[in-house]
């Protein structure tokens, strides 16, 4: 087991490295730079800006510097510098005196706003996305799993048909459609909830639904399929044959085992939701991380591109690794292999 986890962890690092390399290559393949916008800057200004952000160095040095600043932790002492290059995401003070601090993950400055760093974006905007994402995730689990389970247990009845019809409906309504419709119905027509904004409880409800409905439909379909599969297994027949109540059979034997494939999907879904989504945050005017996924690319904000991609990739890779480990724990058959 320990070897399995170690192997999994090393592979995780390889994947993250590959993703950072691909991202770096792709983003530098986009012509133009962060400072070649609508109005053309004088050549000296451009050169000075590029020098300030080390964009005048060879590409491989830029890449290696970037990786080094993120990966390698540092211990600093004394007065902290205010220089943008030294802004770390994680700062832990050490009990060594002289304000010794362990600093880790320096994602660098953003070019679009003077005096801000990618770490600032993570501190200010990521928590908002995470709140929204976590709510949407909870919603999809709370709706999806019971709906799917009821469908499977009442297979080929009216309950099943209507629940699964509803689920197909949910899958066919991506947020890009659902968000404006919810806004119009509950915000403009009924005036029950605010159309946009973030901070009040009422402002949370619509975006949570917009984000959660499609996922709950997916979870419901998956739960149904998985539970049906499990219910046809021999050990369910054994459980029934030895006289267990239907309730026991379903809850203890069937439902628990049917969760395994659902967990595989839920892991990456949670990772995606936590990092923010562009469409929901744009439509509902939520100051989360989502917009940076798009604006950083269109504005060639290199550090933000690398930072956001790596952050999401990190979440995804960790989620997948956790899913793999949970898998092994839940299913003794995999453990033996």
């Amino acid at each position: 087991m320990a070897r399995f986890i170690l192997r999994r962890f090393l592979w995780m690092l390889v994947v993250l490295f590959a993703i950072s390399l691909i991202t770096f290559g792709l983003m530098r393949a986009i012509p133009g730079g962060p400072f070649t916008g609508e109005k053309r800057l004088p050549a000296e200004t451009l050169a000075a800006l590029n020098a300030k952000y080390h964009l005048d160095q060879p590409l491989y040095i830029q890449y290696l510097t970037f990786i080094r600043d993120i990966v390698i932790p540092r211990v600093t002492t004394g007065e902290q510098s205010n220089y943008l290059d030294h802004e770390y995401l994680i700062n832990i003070s050490l009990p060594l005196g002289d304000r010794a601090t362990l600093r880790w993950m320096n994602f660098g400055p953003t070019y679009s706003t003077i005096g801000r760093t990618v770490s600032d974006i993570f501190r200010d905007n990521l928590p908002i996305s995470m709140q929204l994402g976590f709510l949407a995730f909870t919603l999809s689990v709370v709706i999806g799993i019971p709906l799917g389970a009821i469908s499977a247990l009442r297979r080929n009845t009216l309950v099943d048909y209507s629940a699964m019809g509803l689920a197909v409906l949910g899958i066919s309504v991506p947020v890009i459609i659902l968000a404006p419709m919810l806004q119009y119905l509950f915000g403009v027509q009924l005036k029950w909830l605010p159309v946009s904004g973030w901070g009040k409880l009422q402002q949370v409800i619509l975006p949570t639904f917009a984000l959660g409905v499609a996922n709950s439909a997916l979870v419901a379909r998956l739960t149904r399929a998985s539970l049906l599969q499990v219910l046809s297994q021999d050990y369910i027949r054994t459980a029934r044959a030895k006289g267990l109540s239907e309730r026991m059979v379903v809850v203890r034997h069937a439902l628990k085992n049917s969760l395994i494939p659902i967990v595989t999907v839920l892991g990456p879904t949670l990772a995606y939701l936590l990092c923010g989504t562009f469409i929901v945050e744009t439509i509902f005017g939520i100051p989360g991380m989502g917009k940076f996924f798009v604006t950083s690319v269109t504005g060639r904000d290199y550090q933000v591109i690398m930072g956001t991609v790596l952050l999401l990739a990190m979440f995804l890779v960790i989620a997948n690794a956790v899913v793999d480990i949970v898998y092994v724990v839940l299913d003794p058959r995999i453990r033996q292999e």
Binding site: W11, V15, A18, I19, I22, T23, L26, M27, A29, I30, P31, G32, N156, G165, V168, L169, I171, S172, V173, P174, I176, I177, A179, P180, M181, Q183, Y184, G187, V188, Q189, V195, Y272, F278, I279, T282, I283, F293, V294, V297, T298, I305, T308, V309, L312, A313, L316, V317, N320
Partner: protein
């Protein structure tokens, strides 16, 4: 064989043969029969066919040109729309909406006819829904066949690449790719192959890069599926027999392995189509989709969303169109899977 036909057939068997012939049905025919009895799947199929017809005959059906700008009709709406959406009060009743009955669903902020744009927009969504699965199917099939059939280090390498691609956040990869394609094409010199590609893309209204971008990010599932199927199918005795008889690799793959893996592959791709259509809508929403003024439902929703409080029709009608098409593809895909999935046999 010709000689055999001339022989007189024994009378007793013919009756039995006739019975067998009437009842006999291939697995595929059986599946299609089941599909045709699935009402939801049939409705989905009919909607898709209607959409294809609308897309093909868009110039005939559309009441106006999709790029006809008319500034005196901006944000106009017909009378029935102002009744359906009660907050859209007409100017005559103290509201703000210009009533223009010649626009059947209303006009957008440039005074372009919404209905005509929705009709032309069907072309983009359908093209993406039909071409993208083909691209990812071909790519996935190639990689999966090579990995599964050759095995060894090549298999290992290809599957690790698939793993990495899977771990890459799809939406971000598409955004990056599209930025490289879209913004990169302006800096190309004439004569290079990349330049030819960008000209072709421009001629297709920006669709080519969308096909490629979505295709590149969505072949991995197919590759895994094909590889797994190849590994299991090639263990069969008939493949061994073909090999023993000296059949070349290409024949074994084409005649013995491909027909066996095509079913699950096509089902998987059909189920993925709504996702592809959604990707295109997303790309158009963030401004990296088809080139304006080519209408796309996603782009129309993006245009209308900020004005949803005043002019809900501008976002909701294209949203409805997109929804109906995705719904139809989902129903058809589900029906196809149920019809072909052997585990469902005899359980109904």
């Amino acid at each position: 064989m010709a000689d055999l036909d001339k022989l007189e057939r024994p009378q007793g068997i013919t009756q039995a043969q006739r019975l067998v012939r009437v009842k006999g049905r291939s697995l595929t025919a059986d599946a299609f029969h089941r599909l045709s009895r699935n009402r939801a799947a049939m409705i989905g199929t009919i909607i898709i066919i209607l959409n294809i017809l609308v897309a093909l005959f868009a110039p005939r059906i559309a009441p106006k040109a999709f790029d006809d700008v008319s500034f005196k009709d901006t944000n106009g709406a017909p009378a029935w729309v102002t009744k359906v959406f009660p907050n859209m009060k007409p100017l005559e009743q103290g509201g703000y909406v210009k009533v223009r009955n010649s626009y059947l669903l209303g006009a957008d902020s440039l005074g372009r006819d919404l209905l005509s744009r929705i009709i032309y927009g069907a072309r983009v969504s359908l093209a993406v829904g039909i071409v993208t699965p083909l691209i990812s199917l071909i790519a996935g099939l190639t990689v999966g066949l090579i990995a599964g059939y050759r095995g060894g280090w090549l298999d290992n390498l290809l599957m690790r690449i698939v793993d990495i691609m899977f771990a890459f956040p799809t939406y971000l990869l598409i955004i990056l790719l599209m930025a490289v394609f879209r913004l990169g094409s302006s800096a190309l010199e004439p004569g290079s192959p990349a330049y030819a590609f960008s000209r072709l893309d421009a001629a297709m209204g920006g669709l080519l890069f969308i096909f490629i971008g979505i295709g590149i990010t969505s072949w991995m599932g197919d590759a895994r599926l094909v590889r797994g199927q190849v590994l299991s199918v090639r263990e069969n005795d008939y493949v061994l027999a073909a090999y023993a008889l000296g059949a070349p690799t290409s024949r074994i793959i084409l005649r013995h392995i491909l027909p066996n893996i095509f079913g699950p592959l096509i089902i998987a791709e059909t189920l993925a189509i709504p996702g592809y259509i959604g990707y295109e809508a997303f790309l158009s929403f963030i401004g990296l989709g088809v080139n304006p003024p080519t209408p796309s439902w996603g782009g129309m929703i993006a245009d209308g969303a900020p004005r949803i409080q005043s002019f809900p029709n501008q976002a909701i009608f294209p949203a409805l169109a997109l929804f109906v098409l995705m719904f139809a593809f989902n129903f058809m895909g589900d029906g196809l899977r149920d019809a072909f999935d052997p585990t469902l046999r005899g359980r109904e």
